[in-house]
Symmetry: C2
Amino acid sequence: MISVDEALKIVLDSVRPLESEAVGLRDCYGRVLSEDVYSECDIPASDYSAMDGYALRYSDTKGASSSSPVHLKVIGEIRAGGEFDGRLVDGQAVKIMTGAPIPDGADAVIMVEYTRAEGDRVAILQEVGYGENIRRAGEDVKKGSLVIKRGTRLGPAHAGMLSAVGRPRVNVTRRPRVAIIITGDEVIGPDEELKKGKVRNANIYSLSGQVMSAGAIPVDMGIARDDLDDLKTKIKEALAHDVIITSGGVSMGEYDLVRDVLGEFGFQQLFWKVAMRPGKPNLFGIVDNKPVFGLPGNPVSCMIGFEVFVRPAILRMLGQETNDVMEVDAYLEEDIKKKKGLRFFIRAQTRWVDGRYVTRTTGPQGSGILSSMALANSLMILPEGEEFIRKGTTVRVRLL
Amino acid sequence: MISVDEALKIVLDSVRPLESEAVGLRDCYGRVLSEDVYSECDIPASDYSAMDGYALRYSDTKGASSSSPVHLKVIGEIRAGGEFDGRLVDGQAVKIMTGAPIPDGADAVIMVEYTRAEGDRVAILQEVGYGENIRRAGEDVKKGSLVIKRGTRLGPAHAGMLSAVGRPRVNVTRRPRVAIIITGDEVIGPDEELKKGKVRNANIYSLSGQVMSAGAIPVDMGIARDDLDDLKTKIKEALAHDVIITSGGVSMGEYDLVRDVLGEFGFQQLFWKVAMRPGKPNLFGIVDNKPVFGLPGNPVSCMIGFEVFVRPAILRMLGQETNDVMEVDAYLEEDIKKKKGLRFFIRAQTRWVDGRYVTRTTGPQGSGILSSMALANSLMILPEGEEFIRKGTTVRVRLL
């Protein structure tokens, strides 16, 4: 039995980023950038007005006030998206709208509130300083500068940024296709009648959701019965994908066939039992250079096994550099007993109250008790060395 | 000019949850449940074994040890998903696999590790207690109990739970369709040549991503030129949807036509300017009972306006009860000057360091500076009353 940390290291050492593909901006959300993006232009592209008002030469406004206005000749008008031909000289102004480019010769903009239009002239009622109300070319982004780093998971602001710098398509890592095989004679679908000893298939729905939330594509291979041939067929099909997950069939029972069948495909087992609860039986190894995760069949153990081992593997396959797992410390609101030597993952409700996180369990923590997971917004991570953790202790919590 | 809090109240009072629709479990992720879900069965459905071993009567194991084993007759075998006809009596055992239903008459399971198979008999090497290694029917969920509340945003664990309780379809709130109109003669697409005074359309991509992340459907109405007829046509089309967002055209310039055109459709304006930065011009009102948000054209102001007003409106339209906005307190790592009377939303990088959140700005905070947003994982929310906030102050932060 190896530790969680050793096991995770083995998993991460076994996978590497997939190849790239180009996507348009409408399809970039949630994808991981596989190139450094440099700006192909200054942003803004040219100096522009931050206000509605008049572009002018600041030296012309010296001494201007509402009691003693300066009068300038209005030689034109320019709106956002418009252009002004010609050059402004002393004694002249150009009416200008927010976002419009600054005309040649002008070195300041006065807000419309501090002016009075008088036919083809404008009265300036206040002084302005050099450069006032002008946004400079390249103020946000300089041409050639690095704007988004490789390994970034792209969100709304990145999509906007990519458009702004002139990149209608970008290179992202291909999303791993994750084949999911649920095993067990006892498993039935959610629409089937629940007879004694049967259990409805929760894991395909929880795992599919987890796979998608990690940025990968779930592929449902169906339920494999506890039968060599059925499992063999399904695993053979699954090996066409990038990652293989099985659920169930990895403990020590005589009908736990997953390891036997994997062996026929040249499975290189890297670990089987991990010092954790829930989810001690967590099989991991390689077939055809592809990672194979044999997760437990218990719904909670299965979800935890995914969070601890599969999600980090998928993120590495996506080349994601920034970790989207957020771990914080929290005040424990109750006593917890655990088994020494195992790392415990406790389903928890964690809230920010009076300047700190407080956390408590979501009720009974049995590995079959899915309601504990459905109510959780976080996992307490309780270290191997502890046996009894008192209320009031500071514990580590992973926010989900 | 009204306060952020007053404006938000007006927005929330103007919208209500949309109607329901039924979806299958494969399509339920990220949707908001519009019914209380009660379990249609006990989970587990019947008592079952938590271990591989032998089902027996606990009283038969009294005094058993490895030096003085008790011998029981093995009268059958039962695996997960299997059945056992008949009833076990004193002196008998049934071989049992994890997940298999407990045979009638048995009241405990002994782990296989504490037994030794001897032909048609089994040697019991240890005592077991009453009920040991048996999971009880209804231990996780009792038939008829409330398992997921209306208003819950469904994630992987909920999907698993819905399957487990026999709900292959559930009722969720219909997702709002959000029409987005970008306005301005200066706006061009990401693949167009960037001439002086032009700006590439960042807002359609950032807004579309924000709309999706809130759980709604963005509908791109294209770019409306600063022209009455063009804008009128686009707004008319937009009114076929549930929410209308415009970006740009809401400040005081002569070519800011949005309010004029909305007026022709019976627009009831509820606010226009909000005491905040960035994003003071934030128009809001109602046309045909539909919320219309006139967001600023500056890329950052536009994104902030969405976060502050549109996202909460969408969540209410979805009937989401649990707020997915997480606000915490953080140690401010730098001095910040702000304008008194306005609530500031500062783009920030916030990290958990040594038991607390620390936060700093993502660089220059101009409303056109999209890079400040692309680098942010959070927003500092600085209150109206403050003018200068010193390094070391505790400030409120919204994690994005």
